[in-house]
């Protein structure tokens, strides 16, 4: 049996929706368990007083990356069938800055705001309202910026292709970055945590 199951027609559209819902619940559950339903925990990442976001995200990245690599190496997964979204460099850079800005101000990113809402947090509810308002604003303004949204099209490019280095080497570098981050996290948290309490 080969993955991706949907692309190999092992199940159809209806079943894939059920799978999506289950994965969505699992995603939300683990975000909540990691403490990401709390805006305090999330914004602490930006002040470097709590690197939980970094640690959780990089754990997920490293696990998924190594998993996908070895599964396809062993022939259980056809990675060329896995969808890669297109890179539009300039609009995505600007979008990333905007999202980061909204993250610090609002205390959530879109996914975690839903987790916050599910646990009954009022600030997450307000964030959700802003999210929907933002979607409408973007939709209305879309005709004026369509050209920009699709500019600097680099195609569905991956880091190994971009830098022209072996896939495995990129993986090793990312694992090293993650492990270095995990190792340094306690000291970073202590340093910035103390600085913040001194100021207060």
């Amino acid at each position: 049996m080969m993955a991706p199951f949907f692309k190999y027609d092992l199940f159809g559209d209806e079943f894939s929706l059920i799978v999506a819902v289950l994965i969505g619940f699992a995603f939300g559950f683990f975000l909540e368990r990691a403490g990401f339903g709390s805006a305090r925990k999330l914004t602490a990442q930006f002040y470097l007083t709590d690197l939980a976001v970094f640690k959780v995200m990089f754990t997920a990245i490293v696990t998924a990356m190594l998993g996908a690599f070895y599964l396809s190496w062993m022939g259980f997964l056809d990675l060329s069938l896995v969808y890669l979204s297109t890179t539009y460099l300039a609009p995505q850079l600007l979008g990333g800055v905007l999202l980061g800005f909204g993250f610090v101000v609002g205390g959530y990113c879109p996914g975690t705001s839903v987790v916050g809402m599910a646990t009954g947090r009022v600030d997450a509810l307000v964030y959700g309202a802003g999210l929907i308002a933002g979607i409408f604003a973007f939709g209305e303004a879309y005709p004026y910026m369509e050209g920009f949204v699709y500019s600097t099209d680099m195609g569905a490019i991956t880091l190994p292709q971009l830098f022209g280095v072996p896939y495995g080497l990129v993986m090793l570098v990312i694992v090293l970055i993650a492990l270095l981050g995990f190792w340094a996290a306690p000291s970073i948290e202590r340093y910035f945590g103390n600085r913040l309490t001194e100021e207060v």
């Binding site: 070895y70 396809s72 060329s80 072996p166 495995g168 080497l169 694992v175 945590g193």
Partner: protein
């Protein structure tokens, strides 16, 4: 508000596992290479069911209707391609085909001069896991006979004449010229191939935006 506790034994073990797995894979490439496994039974059934090809007329109809969703690949030599090719066709020689940028959810129509190269290409692409691959039945020869230069048999019934009227329009759309009368006339007036891209009303297909996936 320091949250981190000192790393436990398990943290070290998991970190070591990640590091070892990453180190072992250096230089590796997870994308499937040129070695594939084939389901010969399935391929045989597809060929048997005759769902592996389109006829020249079907392809002409699609192009006239402005259907640009399919990719048409011309497998002949670049020189032959430069002289004439079916509108919107892209030139790929067989050796480059396996690395040619194609999406697996695309409809791909293959043609060559006769049909041998397109049959070989069909096999290669099916082997690579492409599902929507079709050969142009009879290749460019059939395209010439049926679409560009259709001929009316000397003793044609009214139905055949009515059908021929339609073919004349199709032929003219692609810049061809229909032939009347007997076989001798064919020789007398050699077929003039239309210039490249005769059907200017068919815009060269820009790749359509793919269905959005992901978040």
């Amino acid at each position: 508000m320091s949250q981190s506790r000192p790393p436990s034994k398990w943290n070290w073990i998991l970190a070591a596992v990640a590091l070892v797995l990453a180190a072992v894979s250096v230089g590796g490439d997870p994308y499937r290479g040129h070695v594939v496994t084939l389901n010969t039974k399935e391929l045989g059934m597809i060929v048997d069911a005759e769902v592996d090809h389109v006829t020249a007329e079907e392809l002409a109809d699609r192009l006239i209707q402005g259907q640009t969703a399919q990719r048409i690949l011309d497998l002949r030599e670049p020189i032959a391609y430069a002289e004439y090719h079916i509108p919107t066709a892209e030139n790929v020689v067989l050796g480059d085909l396996v690395d040619y940028p194609l999406y697996r959810n695309e409809q791909i129509v293959l043609y060559s001069g006769g049909g041998i190269h397109s049959a070989q290409a069909w096999f290669l692409l099916r082997a690579q896991g492409f599902q929507g691959v079709y050969m142009l039945l009879g290749g460019l020869d059939a395209w010439k006979d049926e679409v560009l230069f259709p001929s009316l048999p000397t003793e044609a019934g009214p139905e055949e004449i009515a059908e021929f009227e339609r073919l004349v329009q199709v032929s003219q759309f692609f810049g061809g010229s229909p032939r009347h009368g007997s076989g001798e006339e064919f020789v007398a007036t050699p077929m003039q191939m239309p210039t490249v891209e005769p059907a200017s009303q068919v815009p060269v297909a820009k790749k359509k935006k793919k269905r959005k996936e992901g978040c």
